[in-house]
């Protein structure tokens, strides 16, 4: 995979490793600062009977910040730290997004119409769009998976799964 990216006639375009490194390091830095902030509120000292509630989170956050500053420093000032390497090519990113975006819609769907109905739609959509299966086949498989999970969770194991804000299955009494 690496070779494919680095070699090749023209350097393939995409998000560079450098950018990705910076984004993740900054993300961790922000996270660390947030944790530090809350730990100070909780008390981060070593009291007479051992550490307070914020003691460990505070130092954990300090270490996170130091480590991400370290990574950041290496990326910004180190030599040839992947400046020309590509983190993800646009083509690849498109493929990744083709899974991620529908997945996000799927989760949103669960929130609205519940796991069972959203699953049918998601599986069918995925198979038709990316797998080029026929609509009938895809919908049938989606329904099969949903019915199987429904039987297993709701009926046999008695584990209620999320039915969504607008429960479309309320007519069958669940």
């Amino acid at each position: 995979m690496e070779d494919k990216q680095v070699s090749g006639e023209a350097a393939p375009s995409g998000i560079s490793v450098r950018t990705a490194e910076i984004v993740v390091a900054v993300f961790l830095l922000i996270l660390g600062s947030l944790v530090m902030y809350d730990s100070v509120r909780l008390g981060f000292r070593w009291a007479s009977d051992g550490p307070e509630a914020g003691y460990f989170p505070f130092y954990i956050a300090v270490i996170i910040c130091i480590a991400s500053l370290g990574t950041l420093g290496q990326v910004l000032f180190g030599k040839s730290r992947g400046e020309h390497k590509v983190f993800v090519e646009w083509e690849q990113l498109k493929l990744v997004m083709s899974v991620l975006v529908p997945a996000a819609f799927f989760v949103f769907g669960i929130q609205m119409i519940g796991i069972y109905v959203a699953s049918v739609a998601y599986i069918a959509f995925f198979m038709v769009w990316l797998g080029k299966y026929t609509l009938i086949k895809s919908v049938l498989l989606g329904i099969a998976v949903s019915v199987a999970t429904f039987m297993m969770f709701e009926v046999w194991f008695k584990v209620p799964l999320f039915k969504g804000a607008f429960n479309p299955l309320s007519f069958i009494g669940y």
Binding site: D49, I60, I63, A67, T71, V107, I110, S119, F157
Partner: protein, 498 residues
Amino acid sequence: MEEINALFHGFSVALTPFNLMLMVIGIVLGVLIGVLPGLGGANGIAILLPLTFTMPPTSAVIMLSCIYWGALFGGAITSILFNIPGEPWSVATTFDGYPMAQQGKAGEALTTAFTSSFIGAFFAVVMITFLAPLVAKFALKFGPPEFFSVFFLTFCSFIGMGKEPPFKIVAAMMLGFALAAVGIDTVTGQLRLIFGWHELMRGFDFLIAVIGLFGIGEILLSMEEGLSFQGRAAKIDMRIVIDTWKKLPKYWLTSLRSCIIGCWMGITPGGATPASFMSYGIAKRMSPDGAKFGTGMPEGIIAPETAAHAAGTAALLPMLSLGIPGSPTAAVLLGGLLIWGLQPGPLLFVEQKDFVWGLIASMYLGNIVGLIIVLTCVPLFAAILRIPFSIVAPVIIVICAIGAFTVNNAMLDIWFMLLFGVMGYAFKKLSYPMAPLVLALVLGDQAEDAFRQSMLISQGDVRVFFSNGLVGSIMALGLLMLFWPLIGKLKARMRNAS
């Protein structure tokens, strides 16, 4: 031998057609539960507990413990095939199991995992049979400082294993600790790191993170690899089982070591998850092929699986003899005993001979039945990989979403799962290691609780961790593990010098 007699009596109790049927049902249900992430062990048994309410206690516990064995077996399946650990203790199995499956050796990996599980469990059952009263006493020696030392040892035997940049290893591990701290703090009862957002109260469950980081992250990665919409070739032949078995005996030392680690962790009770991590870490240090761990070494499957299963089985011993649950699953089983009108504790072995020895006999039988069932299914499991990606991927995501939901019955967790998926994808590509993050997440708050309880006991005196022989030697062992790589280097230098 009194135990042998009692055991044979136990077999006569367990070996009725009705009980055998319950065993098979239990194993199959257990495998199913183990495969579904989120519904594993403790949850699964809690859910099925009321179903056993109408059975005689011995039959009920046989069925439930078989569900437990089944779940232990089942957890390995998705870890190996899809990089999704169905159970916390099978995380370490993904490290080498998934690469093996990727290389077309899924059948081999599964056989290795199942066989190791069986060996671990068998070792533990034999120990329970003959050493029960002796060993049970040992568990009582564990107070907060001793618990902390066990966690310390687990971390130490796992730290510093990666080839990733040190800054990133540290960042990943600390991120795990930070996530583990979210939610209520056991020692002070304060809500930590929730920033006024009450949905965060339940904290980040380890399984949510794992399903996202490993499962969803992996799907995103394989998507990128240029439409691998074809299933991977995997041999689906019963012969693979025999062929694998021929290769296994040479790993006897790893097996034995893992059995001992597992039993010890099950009894103490540290539990199956730390046992699997510790065993993997130590195997990596001790094995001549240690450097190749993570690329698909059978030893990397044997070590965690054997230890997890030995620990899972051994955890039942303190439950039966002391009434202390050695694992969350054992805690639920313990509740079961009360519901069936039995009283776990030191007198159970005296007052309920039929029940105890029936259960122990069923451990032998259940594991044998389980091994046969899962091994015959190896080709079937391996064949799943042949299903085209565009069918498997959405189904996996649906199952992951269900799993994420069932852990805490929380919708928000499904969103977190997706978020962790993106994080897993980015982390893997930027070589932030996932293992330390996961380990810190699963053991972080327990280790912190144990540490702070110790501090309360000693009124803030850190010397409590070296206050007696037991805790002192575990801590010393931990330090030894921590500096093991350095010691190795020193040794090499001395050899070069001479």
